[in-house]
Symmetry: C2
Subunit: 338 residues, 2 copies
Amino acid sequence: MPLLLAIDAGGTSTRAVTLDRSGRCFGYGRAGSGNPTASGVASAVAAIARATEHALAASSSGPGASVGVIAMAGQRSAPFVREVSARLAGLGVGRVILQPDLLGIFHSGTPAPDGYALIAGTGTVAARIQDGTLARVVGGRGWLLGDAGSGFWIGHRVARAVIAALDGQAPTTALTDLVLASVGIPAPPDSPAGREQALNQLVTALYARPPVQLSAFAPLAFRAHRDPVAREILVGASSALAHLTSVVRIPALTGPLVVGGSVLIRGLLAAPPDLRGHLVLPAHEDEVIPVSDGVVGAAVLALRSADTDVDATLFRELQLQVTQAATVRGAENPAGDP
Amino acid sequence: MPLLLAIDAGGTSTRAVTLDRSGRCFGYGRAGSGNPTASGVASAVAAIARATEHALAASSSGPGASVGVIAMAGQRSAPFVREVSARLAGLGVGRVILQPDLLGIFHSGTPAPDGYALIAGTGTVAARIQDGTLARVVGGRGWLLGDAGSGFWIGHRVARAVIAALDGQAPTTALTDLVLASVGIPAPPDSPAGREQALNQLVTALYARPPVQLSAFAPLAFRAHRDPVAREILVGASSALAHLTSVVRIPALTGPLVVGGSVLIRGLLAAPPDLRGHLVLPAHEDEVIPVSDGVVGAAVLALRSADTDVDATLFRELQLQVTQAATVRGAENPAGDP
């Protein structure tokens, strides 16, 4: 029976799994960023190929795969499609099918054809899924023009709050020491001159980086969640994400809300009770299903491309197998088990 | 009597005036950006030299000047100080003295030693002036990390509001047509596909520019001030500026508040009555004096560097002469006459 290849090509890491048409998983592989927008076409193709090689090597059932489904964010440029197809062809993979990362995420949480997805990582996006396709997508648009509630959005507010506090414009905050330490600036003596010096060092250090790297400060807001300034930022993020979800929701379509991305999975949904009480979480009548990546969903899409019906039983089996394969490889927790 | 040279080296344009120790003005010159942070050392020095040449050429009282005072924002790098001193020495200017732009702005509005200054142009900054020196400065820190209420801050919110509106995340706004037109994108047909296409074009166009150029949208908010979305942005800007002023104010120090920068002069302070009623303007018990640049103040600082006492009479005379000189040159309205 010819193998299927399913790939979740994310901005931080790429996961690949090989499976047969019955849904039995054979191999699992992992590599770095497979998103051409985030890391360039050559680097993304190389990561996708590396994850594929690992998955094929571990599959021990003959070389190659008849179909490779890649779930990924962003636009598919012609050079990327050409290069990734050629590279995978060289590894014995037949047809390559690109699918939106939102469908990979959604089907990592559910085999249902209808429902909703919400991702909040470095960026944010929400979607309504109808008959297994994206019926409506809102959000995204990047750090400068959109992505409210994202890791950048939180980290940017953290940086601005610290700078305003050091400048005497805003209340002091526990975030200041955390941000200064993370940038390697010693905590200033409690004097105007000391604060001014730390402020100048911080401003210089932050303008020397690409703005999007301010997202590195997002985890500091969660760490300092008892601080009123940090808490207000996190409540604002939760509220922006709840709003984004409300924009795609229609009364006529029920179904689970599948959520992914570090801001939700490691942040808002994992918030301690004293923070959780303040957050505005998406109002959803149906199940809310957290997932940590989109590789199970890519496998669902690969099976469906081979006309395999993925029912609830096969779906649970698939989740279990991928979790086991990822764990055997010593990788971090894959889908379905936040 | 040897001449004095006074220069207001701004981020958009540079103004120079020559005067004698009695305060009589002889020449006026104008050139492009004289700020090395905004336009690079070489370009800033060239603009300062060009404005100086014009002012000296028009002064018809012998070559050169004994002292040149340059009022300018930002840090004074050693290469800039070296180059500008050498270039002005070549034009016959003796000692070069650099002064903060905030003092130039402040003394363009008043000869008083004490008071406050607030600037809101592309960036924002507020200061308390005590005995003719800057006793406290807050704000600035640039588009990414500070400058709340600035032209960038307003323009950034305008862009985000338009993108959220086209995406269906936020209310429609009159800003959309204005922004699309200013970027050269045709108004979309009233359909989801039409809006999506305009949205993609707008996002691509805006990421292709340096972020700080979003400040070009600030005037659109004023033009659309009856639109609730635009008005909320402007009210937020006014509130940020009122807050910034409150941070530098202390009860023990009274004196005028001198205000400058396009957001205040051509925007908030020139707001039509139906907008003005919504704005939060700085609460100030003393006089609020708008100025359009810092060249009169640079002249005040030049006179004081030559031990000339600038009293109220001489100050008014200075304002009048500089206004006349700038008008004769066909330049736009100089200081003291917003």
